[in-house]
Symmetry: C2
Subunit: 373 residues, 2 copies
């Protein structure tokens, strides 16, 4: 039976450069000296940090010194470190979009934080709601430890926060002296011209930490991400790191592969994934009776889909599973796990055929799970 | 100026198989399919777990099913996961050898645990002291969350716990139903015939978690370790994992390299390091006026050295640093950070020349730091 992997956010598997990485390993490993016999340390393999600094500068137009970058085991380690560094006591508050990355929600709950969700609209986190929430918490004598925000290609909703709202966000955070953690893990998965400057590049009066990943432009199996922060904040965060550093073996090979072809690779993979996204738009639009609305993200790997009223979501989950259709339930992305009439569909990993066949099948499942009214 | 890196526990850099790993990458990466485009998941690259299962069985003579093994980013991640899984509230007690690995001490303090040290002798953790401590804590209504033990090639003292004491340890832990975490990261760094069975292989009535590493037989730059536990304990622990899994890129390359030559590699590196250990013994014995006593470990990477009375250890630290002599201060290994007249010398990473020249230089530094009496 065919399978339809619309669940987790993974890049196109066909374009994964197995051979390119093998050849990169063959070139760089014999030249490494004794680096692999040493602990990578808090910052990690320096050439990779330099390359990621160049990645940032090419995209954002402003420099990011390599000494402000620390390599991590995927961006998830960076995300988790934020709570380890900033959350002191159980119940400390973290503010985040009301719908956000399920991995982050799980990690922050595990660290004992109380997550307070800020409503979003098509432009991301709503600033009126953010300010109101901070005020209300303040009246109760509570100050959030930080604001975690996916301002670019928001997961799961796909929104991009416009520049004006970014400036408002930094203004609010600055006035209240609340650090901002910008999870920019979808940075280069972009299909239309829609760049907005990273918060890290904008003037700010509060601490800002910037997080990026290689999982979305290369693959999660390399477990390579990083965080950027100025000193002394960077060292304050890295004090909480307990893993000896990120794999030099992985970093060296990925560095060598990307050294000359980072942007060719990104351009190539985005062309492939854009076609998948467009096809998924098209297939979703073919079933307006079940997919009431869906986001049209210009970047990232997900479409956020609203189901029509009166669908038994638990039955849908079972039925879809029985047909090998994997998707992510909306509740997984709600900060309090509330059941909501949304699902998240990932378009990066599936083939065009899987999308062409799978979305109508999923529509059919939804139809079968309508609650008789 | 020459440098003398006797500080951290690293393997021989000359024998690091840069080229062997490069060739392994060239063989395996093109064959991997889409594994690198997927998250490694909680357990990680299956062939590597099978190989580590074989490693265990060859050494211990009993099987360890690959499905009981979870790959981690170095063994430090496994060590840290134990506290994340077992420590619920600040002040929860972890029992460990009074002198133990500094990284573990730091990680467990960060997780909010109270560390209670059990005195050691030349055979490792003392069982009379362990039982007494458990009783005293029990009288105060406190039950330790687990016992962390380096029973084989203990860091920093180099001791090996004999079988009788291992059985006593498991008996005590079983009677009190306290889990035991066996950090076996020096498993195959062995220079004399001295095998004692891993706790994990002995009959036990309490949960036992077994931790191993590739850092000591290959290199810490690959960041590859693992933990073993039976179900459902393994899943209970892995619930706390938040990193998406250990790098498949690193695991695949290390697997392919070790697939046919694990034991040749281990035999080769142990022969090289044994010569360094022997030379360090010899050079230490040449200065009995300053090195009052030192352990003679049959495995591991460290010699634990007692300085003669009346040495200004703070002055020694500065003087040694000015001469590029790196060693680890005894206080770093004390569970409460107490200043003790010991230093730990690592012999794996330095060259024979560095040992031959450096130990007499260090002896000279100690002589200069004697407090006039």
């Amino acid at each position: 039976m065919n399978s339809f992997p619309f669940g987790s956010g993974r890049p196109d598997p066909e374009s994964f450069p197995n051979r390119g990485l093998a050849e990169a390993a063959m070139r760089i490993l014999p030249e490494l000296g004794d680096e692999l016999a040493l602990y990578p340390g808090n910052l990690g393999f320096e050439p990779m940090r330099r390359l990621m600094s160049q990645r940032f500068e090419k995209r954002e137009g402003v420099p990011l010194p390599p000494e402000q970058i620390a390599l991590t085991t995927g961006s998830m380690q960076a995300v988790t470190l934020m709570a380890q560094a900033f959350v002191d006591s159980p119940g400390d508050v973290i503010l985040m979009e009301e719908f956000s990355y399920s991995g982050t929600i799980g990690a922050y709950k595990q660290e004992g934080a109380e997550l307070v969700g800020i409503p979003l609209d098509e432009n991301g986190m709503r600033m009126d709601a953010l300010e109101k929430t901070i005020d209300e918490l303040g009246n109760a004598g509570r100050k959030p430890k930080f604001i975690y925000a996916l301002v670019t290609y928001q997961n799961p909703t796909g929104s991009i926060m416009p520049i004006d709202r970014r400036l408002d966000l930094l203004d609010i955070a600055g006035r209240h002296q609340i650090p901002v953690v910008e999870d920019h893990c979808y940075a280069d998965t972009v299909y239309e011209d829609c760049h907005e400057p990273a918060l890290y590049t904008l003037e700010h009066e509060c601490p800002v930490v910037h997080i990026e990943s290689l999982s979305k432009i290369l693959g999660p199996g390399v477990r390579m991400g990083y965080l950027a922060a100025p000193q002394p904040l960077l060292n304050e965060i890295l004090k909480f790191r307990r893993d000896g550093g990120a794999s030099t073996l992985s970093a060296a090979i990925v560095y060598e592969y990307f050294r000359e072809q980072l942007w060719d690779h990104v351009g190539n993979i985005n062309t492939i994934v854009k076609e998948k996204r467009d096809l998924m738009f098209h297939m979703l639009a073919d079933s307006p009776d079940v997919f009431e609305w869906f986001s049209k993200p210009k970047g990232g790997l997900f479409i956020w889909v609203k189901l029509t009223d009166g669908v038994d979501r638990s039955a849908l989950s079972s039925l879809a599973e029985s047909r090998n259709i994997d998707y992510a339930s909306g509740s997984a992305f709600h900060v309090r796990g509330e059941d909501v009439p949304f699902i998240r569909l990932a378009f990066g990993y599936s083939s065009l055929d899987q999308i062409r066949e799978g979305i109508p099948l999923l529509a059919d499942c939804v139809r079968q799970c309508r609650i008789a009214s």
